[in-house]
Symmetry: C2
Subunit: 225 residues, 2 copies
Amino acid sequence: MPIDANAATIVSAFDDVPRFAQGQVRDIRVRWACEEIGRPYRPELIHARADKPEGYRRWQPFGQVPAFADDRVRIFESGAILLYLAERDERLLPSEPADRWNAITWLIAALNSVEPSIMQVVWTGVFNKGKDWVEPAMPAVIDFAKTRLKSLSDALGDKDWLIGRFTVADIMMVTVLRALRHTQILEEFPNLAAYRARGETRPAFVQALADQMAGFDIPESQGVQ
Amino acid sequence: MPIDANAATIVSAFDDVPRFAQGQVRDIRVRWACEEIGRPYRPELIHARADKPEGYRRWQPFGQVPAFADDRVRIFESGAILLYLAERDERLLPSEPADRWNAITWLIAALNSVEPSIMQVVWTGVFNKGKDWVEPAMPAVIDFAKTRLKSLSDALGDKDWLIGRFTVADIMMVTVLRALRHTQILEEFPNLAAYRARGETRPAFVQALADQMAGFDIPESQGVQ
């Protein structure tokens, strides 16, 4: 059971995000990776909406989560943390060079070629909801996301996972795709919807999601899918 | 001289981007890293605006540049390629774990915490220029970018480079910041403007920029800064 109050590995998480974000916050990526390899960790819960604890920005300069610390490193960015956890664990990242760098490529593609277009949908349609420019902007914002999703869908094809076998790239890509759950966009790409569902049914993901939800001050009692 | 027609390392680049993008295309990141370590490479020029060559999307599924190949790997994403080039080269990435993972963290932060907000400024203000929603949307788009730049500025402080010494993270962050050159935004953060200039005056960057510009069908005869 990776959550362990005495673990040397610490992962920061929020305890007070709005309901629509519960189950989506990016510490779920690190929790999921820890569950896949049975690595104990201790969540450090902080407030998202109040002032961050003194010194938190020296650990996470953008005031976000997750940040990560163990006896060797003190880092942030879910992408960097996943690479660190995966570095010496064949279950998350193959050691054979062609496969290894293919998986790292897809982890970075999730962060830089797919997520920005999806977060633009969220930022425009959720964070700026109600502003007069949002409705006319949405078609272009959604088209841009669909262009990237079409390329991703073609690349995934009928494979179960991005490089064939499950890797840390799938933890990243599945959690990136989950941010569209307030829309029907992913359903236009059946292989991507099935891929997201394939990730979400892994026991390690299920445990990570339950643990993130348990950290909120006001638990979400309804379904989070 | 890293460009070498017989090099085993291949880097894809465009030969026909619009003038405003010349000097900005992301293969400059890989060229710059190769120049820093004297690694020979052969550019493979393709058209951005016409149909991509048969099979190019099997190499780069999003139809973008750069893609990269050598005798061990065949990958894409500038972030993954920089990590690959840096993996065993102390000049780009320290081997000591705390520094190493600090630098990797900052490379990922450039790609995922800074670049998306900057590319949203470019996507909205340049790619969608003239649409009726753009002008009312720009203040929120620019504010979001400035929030991220403020955090970055605070984290950089008076250091020359993100982790103190120059690393691959600086290649990534400097090229990310260069995308704002059509605006005055960066000038509001003098330490970031100085940091970008510090990167742009490195001989390896100067050579990489000249080599990217030389690849365009219609060379840009005027200054590119």
